[in-house]
């Protein structure tokens, strides 16, 4: 059955429509692959039984000729999307037993299109992390291992369960969310595609909030075409999210064709950062050559405030998180501490026991930068920096149509290798956070292997609401890179 699970989303869609196999057969193959892959800890909640029920319903619709865009296709959902009747934890003890009575708009869109839910994937607690090591439900293990090594590596984060699930063929595609790189970085270090759409393209309704001005849902897939297919269904204009933008969702799959002749690809010189391994920069150069060979024009551009993006992010994101996470107080839902003296004690102990170390650290940073006397020095200054960073991009896009950069400063690293110093972990997002600060779309495409045999990605950054062009250039990178590698399935032997 391994041929079934290694299909792309587009291949499976076409095969199901051609009645080559049923959704039940396909879903059953994934359910058993997921059971065998438990050593990876990619899922917090497996929903095998429900998946088969959904598959049967899809098969009935197919028989009746009612075929949705994703009819019968099994997907994995990051456990940050609320799913009605299915536990949604945000990988936190504080939401450990939370069962939503409503559905997020993005997942509702997927089910309306006929998709099947295989389960809820692991992540960093409240999506705060770059290695999936802050989850209250344990680390996720990257399906990839370095050449001649048995060392467990991280799958990136925060959408580490989703990235591992896609790379290990445990689903056709997965949803992720990206606040500072949480879709693109894990996709890059697992050799798969990750797309963060423009802020406002996918509804945030029903997605557990981390930093509301930065959060955006997006697809994690095996191919660029699959990302186009997923985005078409995930994206919508939603009255339940006031920041959802009223722009029609185009047919991204159709718009993939046409090539990149004459397109201007910007290379931001500030993304050449000291300490980044030579192989990363070499791959970047190669990527530019690939696009040039397909008729694009390569132009050097400048984003002068690049080095301020990461510190700006670490003010803005914790500030928003500290207000968003104020709702977890042990009263209306979520974890409640026992043996408390009074209501304040209930709040403090429930939060102290319910939140993990990284979440607590970010709540404290956020509370500090928003507190009286520090607001102007930190938060207000950071919001001004965002304006300057946005101007950088506006000026760059006068000279080019898309930007090409590396996705990460290196390949996947060992479990526990970067947990002792929070700053070192934060630096994993150095190439990805900028686009969140300015709301632009970005995509990571697998582009090659590192010296030790681990996947590396290239990132493309597009203009607001022009995911179509972004995907077209991503397809050009994918075609040239011809990345056909997959991890050895060491967990299921």
């Amino acid at each position: 059955m391994s041929d079934l699970i290694s299909m792309t989303l587009a291949e499976a869609r076409d095969a199901i429509r051609a009645k080559k196999f049923s959704s039940r057969e396909l879903t059953g193959a994934f359910v058993s692959a997921i059971e065998k892959a438990r050593p990876l800890n990619a899922f917090i909640t497996e929903a095998g039984e429900q998946a088969l029920t959904m598959a049967d319903a899809a098969d009935k619709r197919i028989a009746a000729g009612q075929i949705g865009a994703l009819e019968g296709l099994p997907l994995a959902i990051k456990d940050l999307f609320c799913t009605k009747g299915v536990r949604t934890t945000a990988a936190s003890k504080i939401l450990g037993n939370f069962v939503p009575s409503y559905e997020s708009t993005v997942t509702q869109n997927l089910w309306d299109a006929g998709a099947v839910m295989l389960g809820k994937t692991n992540l960093d607690e409240f999506a705060m992390g770059s290695s999936n090591e802050t989850s209250a439900f344990g680390n996720v293990i990257n399906p990839w291992r370095a050449k001649n090594s048995n060392v467990n590596l991280v799958p990136g984060g925060s959408s580490g369960g989703s990235s591992a699930a896609v790379a290990a063929d445990l689903c056709l595609a997965a949803t992720g969310t990206d606040t500072g790189g949480s879709i693109r970085q894990p996709a890059a270090v697992t050799g798969r595609v990750g797309l963060k759409p423009t802020y406002g393209r996918c509804s945030r309704f029903g997605v557990v909030a981390f930093a509301s001005s930065l959060d955006q849902a997006g697809p994690m897939t095996k191919t660029v075409k699959d990302a186009a297919i997923m985005l078409k269904t995930m994206a919508s204009v939603d009255a339940k999210d006031s920041t959802s933008v009223d722009i029609e969702v185009p047919d991204y799959e159709k718009l993939l064709e046409g090539g990149i002749k004459g397109l201007r690809v910007g290379i931001p010189k500030e993304y050449r950062i000291d300490g980044v391994p030579a192989e990363i920069n070499a791959l970047w150069t190669k990527g530019a050559d690939w696009l040039k060979a397909q008729g694009a024009e390569i132009v050097e551009v400048s984003l002068p405030h690049t080095k301020y993006a990461l510190p700006t992010y670490y003010i803005v994101a914790p500030a928003e998180a500290s207000s968003n996470l104020a709702r977890y107080d042990g009263v209306k839902f979520g974890y409640r501490a026992e043996g408390v003296r009074d209501i304040t004690d209930l709040y403090e102990k429930s939060r102290g026991q319910g939140f993990g170390a990284e979440v607590q650290r970010r709540i404290l940073i956020g509370t500090y930068v928003l507190s009286a006397g520090y607001y102007d020095a930190y938060y207000s200054r950071a919001q001004k920096l965002r304006t300057l960073i946005k101007r950088d991009f506006e000026q760059a896009f006068e000279k080019c149509d898309v930007l090409l950069t590396p996705t990460t400063p290196g390949p996947a690293f060992g479990v526990g290798a970067k947990t002792s110093d929070p700053l070192e972990m934060y630096l994993q997002d150095v190439f990805t956070v900028t686009v969140n600060l300015v709301g632009l779309p970005g995509i990571s495409v697998p582009a090659g292997l590192s010296e030790n045999g681990l996947p590396l990605g290239l990132q493309l950054i597009g203009q607001a609401f022009d995911e179509a062009t972004l995907l077209r250039v991503a397809l050009a990178v994918e075609t040239a890179a011809d990345f056909k590698h997959s991890p050895a399935k060491w967990w299921s032997v």
Binding site: A239, Q360, R361
Partner: protein, 95 residues
């Protein structure tokens, strides 16, 4: 500016977060590391630069001021850690 143990205690209180005494000192040192790094933002001249309020140029949507949902008391209580009938139970707040 540097964060000490007392500052961590104060912001933990503001954040309604019980941080054990033994964690105050290590947390202060972690936060200091982060704030020292963030200090680099001080070198940028932001004179006259407006603070960003929205990443996407759009007007916030308006809708009619009317009830769109409601009567969900049962659904709201499903996840309540201390719930009785349609009430959230908390420790006594009035002596």
């Amino acid at each position: 500016m540097s964060v000490d143990k007392d500052t961590v205690r104060r912001i933990a209180k503001l954040a309604r977060l019980a941080v054990p005494e033994s964690r105050l000192e290590p947390m202060a040192s972690e936060l200091n590391g982060i704030f020292q790094w963030v200090e680099m933002l001080g070198e940028v001249n932001v004179e006259g630069v407006p603070a960003m309020t929205s990443v996407v140029a759009q007007k916030l949507k308006w809708r009619k001021d009317q009830v769109t949902d409601g009567n969900q008391a049962d659904a709201l209580m499903i996840n309540a850690p201390g719930g009785e009938d349609h009430f959230f139970v908390v420790p006594k707040v009035v002596e």
